[in-house]
């Protein structure tokens, strides 16, 4: 109660504060919004970079450079960021964007109105999601006169405000498209069978171009008669437009003639064959709505070489018309490609059109050709606040619509999907030594999907732009005791080889979070004891959810020690003895399993044989019984049940007597010759079992060895004698044995020092390892030491190690050495999305951790 009162007061105050702004909002037809972005294209050829658009009450007030425009406080801001681009809402100068249904069967039906078919209550998300805010809706294209078109907006406060022109012009056509009208039947309203026993179909004009021209000429000539619809009269008198569909060169010429002859305000629609009549079109001053000849994303080629030739040539029509100074608009080929307008622009640009012209063809020019340029088509003060915020340049195929604004209100916002995230950076360290500068890495569902100088961008992808920053795989501490605190906080000792560190590790241990904050996303955690065989190590991720996701490798190697020994020989012998015992045990186990298998097979065969015999016996007996029962039945039929039971019992007894111990372990005496005894299982020793993977070379032996002597002893014993996979941990003097190590395929985990003293001189061990070409990683050999890995690497870089090599050793190479390269270590497709985002290239003085991702999830955000 005590807290509720102030809250209620605050709420009341908030209500008091709001009304002023609210009332204003309700009165205005649209919203108030400030839009800023890296570039603002006004649709008339001007570009402001960075730019801003201020919309007030649904109407554009200011457009210009970002710094020149300020909005009053409290105005909502839509910020597109440095890569965002603002363009005017797209205007499609011709669409069949109407609900389903066929065209009116009549060749000439000037009383059909597209506005009747346009659904203001329909969900226009598809158009808005592709940036289309204004449409010319056509009543059809397959009749000589289909009716009146309308110009509407795809969003807005009311149908009235959304209707730019209800009767925007008559849609007509000439040529093949309209040349095959159906024959129509006109039934009388009342059946009058005496007069018209059969109703004939009436054939309609036209089947020729001349027919279509004739019909049009008649219609326009008769339009001035009294009683004719006003909309048609306006077309005939040149007040309203005549949209004339004409594709071939002949159609276009006929259309131009008709327009000149009837003094109508014509617009050509189609224009596939415009190439050879560009000059005539230019001279006539008739604008053109060019239909793009290809359906984006589909192969549209027909089998007709000539037609394909024309189609291919028609792709350059836009550029040709532009050069000749013809006003034109571009539209996608059909309704299904409505959302491909920007792709069509880009395609026209590839076919020679300038970027500014391509944009104008779907914005300002399209609007002026429709007669709606006083409201839409460009971003200028006084026009409707309709704009599109793109993720990149309009004709970059990788760009997509982020927001569509209509009348200053956000009519469409691409939903923030969990989908793909793309990190752009000045440097992308893949982790295998490669660096893309600049580069991009994409991840999705917790896994890397792509990496390279420039990756694919599915629409709706989220961008993280690091600018001059860098991205690299999460670091791997290749030898640590992280998570193995043991009881009382002290780092534990040896682990029984019966278990691995993966079992002993506490995933909630505080050390994981600590090292994760410093960029270490995976660790090899090994028992910290000093025993000859310390136990089995595991690779564990420092972040993420659940044991299955976090334990990358349950068994990453057998940790043994040959370092810091007074008597290296004895130590070596001891280790040899331990390995031998394990091997003997495993061999005896193997022998037992082999024998057991043979025995089982033999036993199975014998049991089957016995069962078969028993069945035969049973059959024989049953036959006997049957004859007995027949006799019994005749004597006492009422006693049936009881007798059956008795019979069963009798049968069982008989089997026992004759078969003799059917299911017992002891075989029949007569088969004693090939008798086998069940083998004895050797006493189980789980500890020795723990050596199995190392002896089978499934996992490496991680041998702690530093001096040349120790390294030699390790190689002699483990590689030469036992032929095991070996990784050296420590390896301070390994540069002296480079050749032997490399020949044996032995890697080195430098741990924990980078600078070693060799022959009285300080030597950068990591640099030496890097140039020697030995696979190498770096390990902290500590419980919390992973946190200093990055500093350690920086130091090594300061002492001559290449930055890319430093990243490689702490990520990709380490993962390879530990056998977990398929999961972590590199930014390669399929690997876990464990990455570090830095504000500058790694190891530079101003490089700070911006954020850390594990499994595609941001786990830490740097200060």
């Amino acid at each position: 109660m005590r807290t509720a009162l102030p809250l209620a007061l605050a709420a009341a105050l908030a209500v008091v504060a709001v009304p002023a702004a609210h009332a204003q909002d309700a009165a205005a037809p649209g919203g108030t919004l400030l839009v800023t972005a890296g570039e603002v294209h006004d649709g008339k050829g001007h570009v402001f970079a960075p730019g801003a658009v201020f919309i007030e009450g649904g109407v554009v007030r200011h457009v210009g450079r970002k710094e020149d425009i300020s909005a009053p406080g409290g105005v909502p801001v839509l910020d597109g960021g440095p890569h965002g681009v603002v363009i005017p809402g797209l205007v499609l100068a011709h669409t069949l964007h109407l609900a389903k249904g066929d065209d009116d069967p009549a060749s000439v039906s000037p009383d059909v109105r597209a506005i009747d078919g346009y659904d203001f209550l329909a969900n226009e998300k598809r158009a808005l999601a592709s940036g289309v805010t204004t449409l010319f809706v056509s009543p059809g294209t397959v009749r000589v006169v289909s009716g009146h078109g309308a110009v509407v907006k795809t969003a807005g406060a009311s149908p009235e405000r959304r209707t730019l022109i209800a009767d925007a012009g008559l849609v007509a056509g000439i040529g093949d498209a309209v040349n095959r009208p159906p024959a129509i039947i006109e039934p009388p309203d009342l059946p009058d069978a005496t007069k018209d026993p059969l109703l004939p179909y009436r054939a309609q004009l036209p089947v020729t171009r001349a027919g279509s021209v004739l019909l049009l000429r008649d219609l326009l000539a008769g339009a001035s008669a009294p009683g004719v619809d006003a909309a048609l009269r306006d077309v005939a008198s040149g007040k309203s437009r005549l949209f004339l569909g004409a594709q071939s060169q002949g159609d276009i010429e006929a259309a131009l003639d008709l327009i000149a002859e009837t003094h109508t305000k014509g617009v050509l629609v189609g224009g596939m064959g415009a190439a050879s009549v560009v000059d005539r079109i230019a001279k006539s001053g008739v604008p053109v709505v060019l239909t793009w000849p290809d359906r984006p994303g589909f192969v549209s080629a027909t089998g007709d070489p000539a037609a394909e030739e024309t189609r291919a040539a028609s792709r350059r029509n836009a550029a040709r018309l532009s050069a000749a100074g013809v006003s034109f608009a571009l539209v996608p080929p059909d309704e299904s490609a409505l959302d491909e307008t920007l792709f069509v622009c880009a395609a026209a640009e590839r076919a020679g059109l300038s970027p500014a012209q391509a944009l104008a063809a779907v914005t300002s020019q399209a609007a002026s050709l429709l007669g709606v340029d006083d409201r839409v088509g460009s971003l200028e003060p006084g026009k409707d606040g309709d704009l599109v915020l793109l993720s990149g340049r309009p004709t970059d195929p990788r760009s997509f619509v982020r927001n569509t604004v209509v009348d200053g209100k956000i009519a469409y916002e691409r939903r923030a999907e969990t989908g793909t995230v793309i990190v752009r950076a000045a440097q992308v360290h893949v982790g295998d030594g490669r660096v893309f500068a600049p580069g991009e890495v994409a991840f999705e569902g917790g896994k890397i999907v792509e990496v390279g100088p420039s990756v694919g961008v599915p629409p709706g992808a989220r961008f993280i732009d690091l600018g001059d920053g860098a991205v690299m795989p999460g670091l791997i501490d290749a030898f640590s005791h992280t998570g193995l605190a043991g009881e009382g906080g002290g780092v534990g000792g040896d682990l029984d080889t019966a278990i691995t560190a993966a079992k002993a590790v506490d995933l909630a241990d505080a050390s994981f979070a600590h090292v994760l904050r410093q960029g270490v996303t995976a660790v090899l955690t090994a028992p910290a004891g000093g025993g000859r065989v310390a136990g089995r190590a595991a690779v564990v991720k420092t972040g993420g959810d659940g044991r299955p996701a976090r334990v990358v490798s349950k068994d990453a190697g057998l940790v043994v020690r040959l370092s810091q020994e007074r008597d290296l020989d004895a130590a070596s012998k001891q280790l040899d003895g331990m390995l031998k015992r394990a091997k003997d045990y495993l061999a005896s186990l193997e022998k037992y399993e082999k024998e057991k298998k043979e025995y089982d097979a033999w036993k199975k065969a014998r049991d089957e044989e016995e069962a078969k015999q028993a069945a035969e016996e049973k059959k024989k007996e049953e036959a006997e019984k049957k004859s007995d029962e027949k006799k019994d039945d005749a004597k006492a039929p009422a006693d049936g049940d009881d007798k059956e039971e008795r019979g069963d019992r009798g049968r069982g007894r008989a089997r026992q007597d004759k078969g003799g111990g059917g299911g017992g372990a002891k075989p029949a005496p007569k088969k004693a010759a090939d008798e086998k005894t069940e083998p004895q299982k050797p006493a189980t020793d789980e500890s020795l079992q723990g050596y199995a993977d190392a002896l089978d070379k499934k996992v490496p032996v991680l041998v702690r060895a530093s001096t040349v002597e120790e390294l030699r002893a390790a190689l002699d014993l483990l590689v030469d004698k036992w032929k095991l996979r070996v990784v050296v941990v420590g390896g301070e003097e390994s540069r002296r044995l480079t050749e032997r190590l490399s020949k044996a395929g032995v890697g080195v985990i430098a741990s924990p020092r980078v600078l070693v003293t060799d022959d009285g001189h300080p030597v950068n061990l990591l640099r030496e390892l890097s140039i020697s070409g030995l696979p190498a990683g770096i390990g902290s050999d500590a419980y919390l030491g992973g946190a200093e890995l990055f500093e350690l690497l920086s130091y090594a870089v300061g002492r001559g190690l290449a930055p890319a090599a430093a990243v490689r050793m702490a990520t990709g190479d380490a993962a390879q050495l530990l056998g977990v390269g398929e999961r972590v270590g590199t930014l390669a497709p399929g690997r876990d999305a464990d990455l570090i985002l830095l504000t500058a290239p790694p190891f530079e003085a101003d490089a700070r951790v911006r954020s850390i991702y594990v499994g595609g999830v941001e786990v830490d955000r740097g200060e």
Binding site: G101, D104, K125, A129, L190
Partner: protein
Amino acid sequence: MSRRPFTRIALAASLLLCGGLLRSAPAASGDFVVQAGHVETGDGRVFAQGGSVFVSGGRIEDVREGYVNPWGAEVREFKDHWVLPGFVESHSQGGLDSANERAPNTPFVSVLDGIDPLSPYFEDLLRDGVTTVLVIPGDETLLGGQGLVLDPVGRTVEEMIVQRDGGLKVALAPRRGTSRMAQLAELRRTFEQTRLAEGARALRDPDNDDRDPRQIAVGRLLAGELRAVFACDEPVDVANAVKLMDTYKLKGLFSLGPACARALPLVKERGLDVILPPELEPLERDPETGEQRRRELAREFDEGGVTLVLQADERSPYGARSLWYQAARAVAQGVSREKALAAVTTNAAKLLGVAKRVGSLTKGLDANLVLWTGDPFEATSWVDQVFVEGELVYERSKDKKLARLLRGPGADTEEKRR
């Protein structure tokens, strides 16, 4: 109207004879009191502890709480039953041999000439507790013809009529193979032609011998004498119908399609009389993502402040063929029980303009009573008896077809074998 009108006339005559005695002892022969365990009047009154409905001369005379009989009439006891007004089906093509003519523009036809009074559809209505229905041509048309408001009892259509001007079907949704624009253009053409013909008034003048019989219905529509029943598939159809209403000053009501949920703001703004579609839970697909969403029309329209009226679909083999099921669905969606009941009784009667005859148990209205074995919105309840204008027209115990249906397949043959 052979049976009931005669009884009614006979009653009226006897009442006249009795004169002043009526006030103190109103019960005449044929009057009765239904005493039921649970009475809902349809206009909001509920007597859950028992109620008595006094029926006199085929009409409701009084409804009171408790088991009473101050009128001294014959008592019919249904202490285990629920009594509700007969339901009102607001839009149907039941009882017609075919929903529409092939020719689209047939405003002159009337279901009067097409209804089969013996159609099993009318029996089914009684089984479902429906006692009033608007039968009108279907939606696959332009101007489809005229409907009638009927009760499901009678040997001829004339006997069944409750309201002669049921409305003229005007389909805004395009017929198969036509576009919406063409549909609207053709509607306008027809209206303009009728206007031009000679002015609508002359068309309606019965003394005018020159009038074209085909244009009379449209003439009456344009004069506001006949209401339009607009069939709408998509929200745009509602908007277009409103445009037509404004242009031609039409009166009308709307039968909505499942996609019309998006027309709710318009329906609200203009206060339109709407009938929700039989499909009360349509799926709507997002055009961008392709995701589907289930809408709940009864709840959405109710929350939007629209007076609910429901319809059943006689062609559906499932629950939606019964009006009680439709009301129960509305309750399942979260509409109050009271509103759901009104949606199939009083609201529907008001929408059809027959609220002075049917829709509730109110003094003076037709005694259309339905006796249910329990709550009509429960699937386990049955209609036991139906009274239309005070006459017992349905008894479950005598419903042989239902009995056979419930015995299951093969029961008959087995019976014969015995």
